[in-house]
C-alpha cells in the first residue's frame, strides 16, 4: 500500500522524528518586564482588544483581531512613535486551523524598539490595507496577495507583483509544491511555443542528480570537449587549452615564404 501523504501540506518533512521528541520553546517573557513595551501595550489595550502579548527575543508580539489592524497601526504610528513598517507578510496555518496569520513588523527609531502585530484571518476573508499609513505596505501587501492569495481591501493597485499576471496558484501556500504544479512546469513552453509544443520539448528534468556522462548533446567535461554527438564511451581526448587553434590562426598560417608564390610580373 502506498504511504499516505497529506495534500494540505506538501512541504518537505523530516523522514524521522523520535516519537518522544518534545521541541523546546523560545522563552517568552511577560510584557511588564520592559517599561517601554508595557506602556505601548497599555495604549493598545485602552482602545483595542488584545488577545495575547509577550516579549520574545527582545521584541514584543501583540496578537489582535484582524478587524483592528488599521486602527492599531495608526495609533502606533501617530501616538507611540513607531515610524516604520519594516515588514509585512503572512504565515500559512490553513492545514492546522484554516487561517492565515498576518504579521506587521514595526520599528520605532526614537525608542529603538521593534514590535510585531499579529492577527489571524480565514482563507476567504480579506484584510484592510495599511497602505494609507505606510507606503511600504503598498508593495508588501501586493506580495502577500501574490504569494498567499490574501485579498486586501482598499488597496490602490491589487495585482500580482512577483509572479506574472496570468499565473495560477499561490506559491507560498503549503499546498503548493516546491517545484510547481502542472501549470507552472509548462508555463514558459505554453507561452512561447504553445501547448502543442509540449510533446516536442518534453517535460523538465527536475532531478538534479541525473547526469549522463556519455551525453555529449548537453554536457561535456571541461578540458575534454568533443563535437556534439561523438561517441565517448571509449574515453574522450584531452582538449588542448590554447589561445588559438593548433598552428595559429588561419591567416598567419597561410603566409609562409616557402609555400607562397610571389608574383613579380603583373602581366603574367
Amino acid at each position: 500500500m502506498r504511504a499516505y501523504t497529506p495534500k494540505d501540506d506538501v512541504q518537505k518533512k523530516p523522514y524521522y522524528t523520535d516519537r518522544y521528541w518534545v521541541a523546546p520553546q523560545v522563552a517568552k517573557s511577560d510584557v511588564s518586564e520592559d517599561e517601554v513595551f508595557a506602556a505601548d501595550l497599555e495604549a493598545i489595550k485602552a482602545s483595542f482588544e488584545v488577545l495575547d502579548a509577550y516579549i520574545q527575543v527582545g521584541q514584543m508580539v501583540v496578537v489582535i483581531n484582524a478587524t483592528d489592524n488599521f486602527g492599531v497601526i495608526k495609533m502606533l504610528k501617530n501616538e507611540r512613535e513607531y515610524n516604520q513598517l519594516s515588514e509585512l507578510s503572512a504565515i500559512d496555518w490553513l492545514a492546522q486551523e484554516g487561517k492565515f496569520e498576518v504579521f506587521y513588523q514595526m520599528l520605532s527609531m526614537s525608542k529603538r524598539k521593534r514590535l510585531r502585530i499579529k492577527c489571524k484571518i480565514g482563507e476567504k476573508e480579506s484584510i484592510e490595507s495599511v497602505e494609507k499609513l505606510f507606503r511600504s505596505a503598498d508593495w508588501s501587501e501586493r506580495e502577500m496577495y501574490d504569494m498567499f492569495g490574501i485579498v486586501i481591501n482598499n488597496h490602490p493597485y491589487m495585482k500580482r507583483i512577483l509572479m506574472p499576471d496570468d499565473w495560477e496558484g499561490y506559491p507560498l501556500r503549503k499546498t503548493y509544491p516546491l517545484q510547481g504544479d502542472e501549470f507552472a512546469q509548462w508555463y514558459e513552453v505554453d507561452k512561447i511555443f504553445g501547448k502543442e509544443a509540449r510533446e516536442i520539448i518534453g517535460p523538465e528534468n527536475r532531478d538534479p542528480a541525473r547526469v549522463d556522462r556519455y551525453d555529449t548533446e548537453r554536457f561535456s567535461r571541461l578540458g575534454h570537449e568533443v563535437p556534439r554527438g561523438t561517441d565517448i564511451t571509449q574515453g574522450e581526448p584531452d582538449t588542448l587549452i590554447q589561445y588559438q587553434e593548433e598552428g595559429g590562426a588561419f591567416m598567419i598560417e597561410k603566409f609562409d615564404a616557402q609555400k607562397t608564390v610571389t608574383i613579380s610580373d603583373r602581366d603574367r
Binding site: L162, M163, P164, P171, Y176, P177, L178, Q179, G180, D181, A184, Q185, Y187, E188, V189, K191, I192, I200, I201, G202, E204, N205, R206, P208, E217, R218, F219, S220, L222, E225, I241, Y243, E245, A249, F250, M251, K254, F255, T260, V261, T262, I263, S264, D265, R266
Partner: protein, 169 residues
C-alpha cells in the same frame, strides 16, 4: 619628403596570401564577437568583471552591446525565470544571423540550485544553446575560455551557408 620606395613589380612583389572566403569570414566573425549584455543575476556580475579592468574582454574582440540588433552572441548570465522566459526568446529572435548563445552558470544550464516553481530548468528549453558553461558563478577566466571555445567552433563552421537550425532540448 618621404618617398614610397617599394617597387611592387620588382622587389619581392606584392604580398598575396591565398585563403578561402570561409576562413576569412570566420576569422573576422570569431574575432569580433559582440555580446548582448544579458546579465540576469549573479553571473552577470562576473560577466561585468570579465569586461572590466583586470580581465579585459575587449582584447578578444568581445565587446558588450546593449541592443540585440548589434549583437551576435548572447551570454545568458544568470537564472532565467518563467516570467522572463518570453523576453529572452524575443531578444533571441531579434538578434541577427549568425548568432550564438553561451549559457553561463548552473542556473542557465539546468536551473541549478533553484529547483523551484519559478525558474526555467535550463535556457535550452527556450532558446538553442551552443556552449554550456558550468559553475556557480563561473569565474571570469571560465567565461573567457568559453568564448575561446566558441571562437574555435565558429571557425569550423561554413561561412556562406545559413546556420543549421539548432535543436532545442
Amino acid at each position: 619628403m618621404a618617398q614610397h620606395q617599394v617597387n611592387y613589380l620588382k622587389d619581392g612583389g606584392l604580398p598575396v596570401a591565398l585563403t578561402t572566403i570561409d576562413k576569412v569570414v570566420n576569422w573576422g566573425r570569431s574575432n569580433s564577437l559582440w555580446a548582448l549584455t544579458y546579465g540576469l543575476a549573479c553571473c552577470g556580475i562576473e560577466m561585468m568583471a570579465s569586461g572590466a579592468s583586470r580581465y579585459d574582454f575587449d582584447r578578444f574582440g568581445t565587446i558588450f552591446r546593449a541592443s540585440p540588433r548589434q549583437a551576435e552572441l548572447m551570454i545568458v548570465a544568470g537564472t532565467l525565470t518563467k516570467k522572463h522566459a518570453e523576453f529572452i526568446r524575443r531578444l533571441y529572435d531579434q538578434m541577427t544571423e549568425p548568432k550564438w548563445v553561451i549559457s553561463m552558470g548552473s542556473c542557465a544550464n539546468t536551473g541549478g540550485m533553484f529547483n523551484t516553481y519559478a525558474t526555467v530548468q535550463g535556457v535550452d528549453r527556450v532558446i538553442p544553446v551552443d556552449l554550456y558553461l558550468p559553475g556557480c558563478a563561473p569565474r571570469p577566466e571560465t567565461l573567457q575560455y568559453a568564448v575561446m571555445l566558441l571562437q574555435q567552433k565558429i571557425r569550423r563552421e561554413s561561412a556562406n551557408k545559413s546556420q543549421k537550425p539548432k535543436r532545442l532540448m
